[in-house]
């Protein structure tokens, strides 16, 4: 009686341990989104040097030819066609926006069969400002990755049009 129980316990621990410690591609990409949240967010009292320094680390997460197409209802459309343009915008936002918090909610990451490209669907919640004066913006995003030299980097981010034409 004891042996089957022990065997089941060992099996449960093995399976649980595998799921807790596995480092598959989807987990790596989800962690990249969490890093973007950290690097892209800043608080009101934070100085320009630390916020710019942290944002500069975003560069390594994007391919040189990365493209961004952001459509925000009532705010128009912005298209960026390479990493340098993106970093310019990031620097401007960091300098001009008092406080900002980025959150990627409910990311669903799909790694394609060849394990060279991957895609995530997620909702970006951007909170601009702090406390009572803050404004929240929600957009649904498609994030695409490409694997080069064993490393994943984002090659495109696009907002998904959910209403209207």
């Amino acid at each position: 009686m004891k042996r089957p129980v022990l065997a089941l316990l060992v099996l449960a621990l093995t399976v649980g341990g595998y799921f807790l410690t596995r480092d598959d591609d989807a987990a790596i990409l989800t962690r990249q989104l969490r890093r973007i949240e950290t690097m892209g967010s800043h608080q009101s009292g934070e100085g320009q040097i630390p916020r710019q320094a942290r944002a500069a680390n975003l560069r390594e997460l994007f391919t040189p030819d990365t493209s961004l197409l952001i459509r925000i209802p009532d705010h128009g459309e912005r298209k960026l066609s390479n990493r340098e343009e993106l970093m310019d915008v990031v620097r401007q936002v960091k300098a001009g926006v008092d406080a900002m918090r980025l959150e990627f909610l409910d990311p669903k990451v799909t790694v394609f069969a060849d394990r060279r490209v991957a895609e995530a669907r997620t909702t970006l919640r951007a909170t601009i400002g702090e406390n009572a004066n803050s404004q929240q913006l929600f957009v649904e995003l498609k994030v695409q990755w490409r694997r080069e030299d064993g490393n994943w980097a984002i090659e495109g981010i696009e907002t998904i049009r959910t209403v209207g034409r």
Binding site: D106, T123, R125, F138, V139, T162, V163, R165
Partner: protein, 170 residues
């Protein structure tokens, strides 16, 4: 509270005579509630004045989930639209149906060139205008009931069927 008799009553009150059965009932109840919200209906709290007077700001309504067995949407149905990954929803009224020609002139709705009655609109707008569009096979036109707001501050546009999450019965 240190009286053993009162502890006994409290214990009996909280877990019942048969704790195992009570636990089982709680588990079944939790599963039933989660399943109900996931597959049958879900609560939505309105935020804003765009559906006044039908639905007030901060009013909570129950939306019945749309699925393959749901009846077809009709003009005038109140629906919940998935605007951004189920994190931000829109609560609006369906005005235009697939295949129809939809237009808005001075706040009045024209379907296939004819004006339609809208008894639910009590705050009419004079300057809401939209050029006529032909709705696609799976496309609906939605709008709020409070037309006293500026059109620019209002979601009044098209949506595909797969973005409509639920229907609110009034």
């Amino acid at each position: 509270m240190s009286d053993p008799q009162s502890w006994g009553f409290l214990r009996r009150f909280l877990v019942g005579k048969h704790p195992g059965r009570t636990l089982m009932r709680i588990v079944v109840l939790i599963i039933a509630v989660v399943a109900f919200y996931k597959w049958v209906a879900f609560p939505v709290r309105a935020s804003g004045d765009s559906m006044i007077p039908t639905i007030q700001d901060r009013q909570v309504v129950l939306a019945w989930r749309m699925n393959r067995f749901s009846p077809a949407l009709k003009r005038g149905d109140l629906v919940v639209i998935n605007y951004a990954g189920e994190r931000q929803l829109l609560l609006k009224r369906i005005l235009g149906l697939p295949g129809e020609r939809f237009a808005m002139r001075n706040g009045a709705i024209f379907i296939n060139g004819e004006i339609i009655p809208e008894p639910y609109v009590q705050f009419q707008a004079g300057d809401w205008n939209r050029a006529e569009i032909l709705l696609e096979a799976d496309e609906y036109f939605f709008c709020g009931d409070n037309r006293s707001m500026g059109l620019a501050n209002h979601y009044a546009t098209t949506v595909k069927r797969d973005r409509i999450m639920g229907k609110v019965k009034r």
